[in-house]
Symmetry: C2
Subunit: 592 residues, 2 copies
């Protein structure tokens, strides 16, 4: 049975010492997360996810979801109580407005909880995760009546939410959507079409499911400019808020997937189902994209979450499994062999995962703070700067941390040798579950193109210039401190390479956009390494400031490891980017 | 349903034009694989694996193997006919001596067939693969009587073979083996103990299973010096060669694995089973290790095999799936969107996999030729040089091509977006199946330690010096040709980095062996990139020599891509290796 212990101490260090959450105390909701309260909240969440959620993770994988002959979809038995405990704790609404039953705490705190939840049981976490996404869309774009009808029930967890974008012939390219919406004449629309890959599309955890659906109103313009967003409840809601008759929308089948078996991935059939327009006609994609940054950030969090729980299990195994002797002589001379954690290659693996996880957590929480600033600050300049940062970093967080989260799960599985390949040990599930995070909410190649093709050039490069300036200023400010030298030197070098790569695109991709496409994935990862390096610089600085506190000496070592072992990759990335697209694109399609 | 087409043309190019198999015509068996015959054999094999094997691959995954209440183990239904067709074609014995029913063709040809077979159905290919391993061990170490009893039936496929090494408490560290052997007084031994992870341990494809089992004879010295090898048939063989009574060895349970569901991975219980010593008492590990190079080479082949079939399916999907428009304007203006192969990030992915696959195939076949020379050459100096090369390159082939094979399967799966995550498309199976190759036959961290800790220093570094000299001489000989410049420059640079890394170990790992351990995996991959680069150098040279032949211009492009996009990684690897072990080993075990 895999172990899980929520990383409360590391999270508190990052929020309090590194990112100085107390500096944000003026923002609404932040006064409620002072030093002790914050830790108390984290510990309360930790208890729930460690004790109530983690033990259900393997059930989800083994039992999976079932679609019955009558169309009902059921989830694994143990999910029900776990979900209920979560709702009763009020976790679903911790960062939404009090008006609809939420607690209005910083969404940063919610991001922490998403990590803990996804480590404990990713498939289960997706149910409330999707509800939160739908809530966010309705908060921004819903009418007051829609908000009043749906939000309180979604926020208390009695109803859940979904996003219906993908169709069989289109995923990335949403301009090809065919699902149609015909006005009923009473303000509602009849929605007809087939959506696929609908996570939590139908299930038995809640009494209703509120679908947000992209569809094309009859006669709308072709392409992305003719797509509207609709709210389509599984069960229609009466005037008095009670549940009425069943809407003609149902789960046609469940996908048989590589992982996240506990989440119901549905083909959803809309057969003239009653729906209501959310926001403006033909502005559906824009409405969806408003919450895209938060949704993508949440998927990046999932990458970290699996990497963290896989790491913890690899550590436990490496301390326990006796095999071979240390190269420097026996460390467990009275036993038949040494624990494998004595072997440098095992250490290298564990240190690599840890160095990534802690930096990823810092960057994610930094980005989440920017999201709070963006939504809560009274200062327009601060809001804009936060929005710039978030737009720029979101594809990096999503693309890089899900790629690395999967890689790290594979690395952790490798520590177990043959046992890692056997399902009972649980490591295979982490790998299989992590795999989806690289795909959904925009496959990682799309994240790379979003970064290179849109975010870099946006507003004349304002966001990226400001990021470079921030990291550059950090290096400048820290370079006089000799204790910071092992961090600042490699970080500055990595930043230099990132700047060179950016310049290379400016000089070579305008005239020839394939040069941007061919280098996009490497650029995204280069950006990720430098951004994580920046976090390590800040973590090292914070650790040096409280050098004698428990764990700080270790933090400084892990940061050095990052600089020595992860940062050098930036040289290879820059070389690949600068190679350009000529060779990549030289073959004709039939030569493949 | 996934597609598979055996890469006959590329294989023939490598064997005939690049490696010049005709130069080996003097070796026994090689006269039978002249130009036309070779291609005829490859095509004959291709037909079998494409038509009879590939269609059974998904059955294996979905049905898996079953252990029945009476202990019998059954394989997926469609495996029977596929296995029979293979045996009837005589493929099992193509490279074993005619004396026992084989055809004595070069083992290089067998290596090609292992690739085709593993691409078509890895789980099925493992059954005859394990038989071949057991046959190899009996050929070298078995008594004449043992050979006569077992080999003809194993080579015609009516009996299969296994390797029984691992026990619950020991995999890598075989010195801890507990299975015991007690002399029966009649020349046989009673074998008692539990072995785990026994591939093809029991099944219904053959009427008998011949187990090779490592065990400790009562009173033998502790550790690796007290381990002997035994042959233990599932059903005892009568004097006249007919099958007698059942031996008390049975499958206690099947493992539930991440992949290769079609192969029965058994817990084997030996309960005083009758066995006979193979080779000398207490020399069992040495007997096993004799065939280790070939077995590890075969696993490297599996890595390539999955990478190849995953690539072919990704290509087919990328040409078919319409999504988005080319950055340079529509390529399919009459369709609703362009096929995704127009996108540079998709191209980059496909080119990366292909550049690795073709070089891996060349290096594998070059190593296989060395294996033939080692076994078949009359010239002791040639045998020794071939043995040096094979010993050095085996951990590289196994470790690097299985790591890359898995990565490539993941990359190919990514091309499919959400469809790649759905089992019906078959891409998930490739990923799950490929995962085991990084673990079995020595986990890849062990391969890296074998390379760095044993192979480098062996015989005063004779093998590695000779490899450096060969690659250096190739660069020297080709550098005057301007058409070779795009290949030779980066190759020479990569070789320089490999030499620097080797020197770094010489200077830093003698006094402090952890420095070798902490850099071992990077070194193995650095070695792999340079060795593949050397193959690309040779492939480019061969392609230039027949420039106008079909496909040669493409080969030259793929080789350039390798140099531009893969070779730069060597810089990062050298940096990581030179960072040494200090930071990696700095934390105490409880700090994890």
């Amino acid at each position: 049975m895999p172990v899980y212990k929520a990383p409360v101490a590391n999270t508190a260090f990052i929020l309090q010492d590194v990112l100085r959450i107390s500096d944000y105390a003026d923002l609404p909701g932040f006064a409620d997360v002072g030093e002790d309260t914050l830790v108390a909240i984290l510990e309360e969440g930790a208890k729930l996810f460690e004790n109530e959620w983690a033990p259900t993770n393997r059930d989800g994988d083994v039992q999976g979801c079932t679609r019955h002959a009558d169309g009902r979809v059921t989830t694994p038995e143990s999910f029900k109580a776990a979900y209920r405990a979560y709702c009763e704790g009020g976790w679903l609404g911790i960062s939404v407005p009090e008006e609809f039953g939420g607690q209005n705490l910083p969404s940063t705190v919610n991001t922490v909880m998403q990590e803990f939840a996804s480590s404990a049981n990713l498939a289960l976490a997706m149910y409330p995760g999707l509800t939160m996404g739908a809530v966010a869309a309705l908060l921004v774009h819903g009418s007051q009546a829609q908000k009043e009808t749906y939000l309180p029930k979604m926020i208390d967890g009695s109803w859940s939410g979904t996003m219906n974008l993908t169709e069989p012939h289109c995923g990335t390219d949403l301009g090809m959507i065919k699902t149609k919406a015909v006005p009923n004449g009473d303000g509602s629309y009849a929605i007809t079409g087939t959506k696929i890959f609908i996570s939590a599309g139908d299930h038995d955890l809640t009494e209703n499911v509120v679908h947000l659906v992209l569809a094309r109103i009859e006669g709308a313009p072709a392409g992305t400019k003719g797509i509207s967003l609709f709210v389509v409840p599984k069960v229609l809601v009466n005037e008095d808020g009670s549940l009425g008759e069943k809407n003609p929308v149902s789960c046609g089948s469940l996908e048989h997937k590589m992982g996240i078996h506990g989440n119901a991935t549905c083909v959803m059939n809309y057969d003239g189902a009653k729906g209501w327009l959310v926001g403006e006609e033909n502005r559906g994609l824009a409405a969806m994209f408003v919450m895209m940054n938060e949704a993508r950030l949440a998927v990046g969090v999932q990458g970290l979450a699996i990497s963290e729980v896989a790491y913890q299990n690899a550590v436990a195994y490496a301390k326990d499994r006796l095999q071979g002797r240390a190269l420097t002589g026996p460390k467990n001379p009275d036993g038949p062999a040494d624990p494998i954690i004595v072997h440098p290659d095992v250490r290298r693996t564990l240190m690599t995962i840890r160095a990534i996880n802690e930096a990823a957590r810092a960057l994610i929480l930094y980005t989440a703070l920017k999201s709070d600033v963006r939504h809560r600050s009274p200062d327009p300049a601060a809001r804009q700067a936060a929005d710039d940062f978030m737009g720029l970093l979101t594809p990096v967080v999503k693309g890089v941390f899900t790629d690395l989260g999967f890689d790290n799960a594979v690395k952790a599985q490798q520590m177990f040798g043959g046992h890692g390949y056997v399902e009972e040990w649980g490591m295979s599930q982490f790998v299989r579950d992590a795999r989806i995070t690289m795909i959904y909410e925009g496959a990682n190649g799309i994240q790379a193109m979003d970064l290179v093709g849109r975010k870099l050039a946006k507003d004349g490069g304002r966001a990226v210039m400001s990021f470079f300036q921030e990291v550059g200023a950090f290096c400048e400010g820290a370079k006089a401190d000799p204790e910071m030298a092992p961090y600042v030197g490699p970080l500055a070098e990595g930043l230099g390479r990132l700047q060179q790569a950016t310049m290379w695109f400016m000089n070579n991709a305008m005239a020839k956009p394939d040069n941007a496409g061919a280098g996009a994935t490497d650029y995204m990862h280069l950006f990720g390494l430098v951004a994580m390096g920046y976090m390590w610089g800040r973590m090292a600085k914070a650790a040096l400031a409280k050098k004698d506190a428990p764990g700080m000496a270790d933090t400084l070592v892990v940061g050095r490891f990052y600089m020595e072992r992860l940062m050098p990759e930036t040289a290879a990335q820059l070389a690949r980017i600068s190679a350009g697209a000529d060779t990549t694109m030289a073959l004709s399609a039939d030569a493949f």
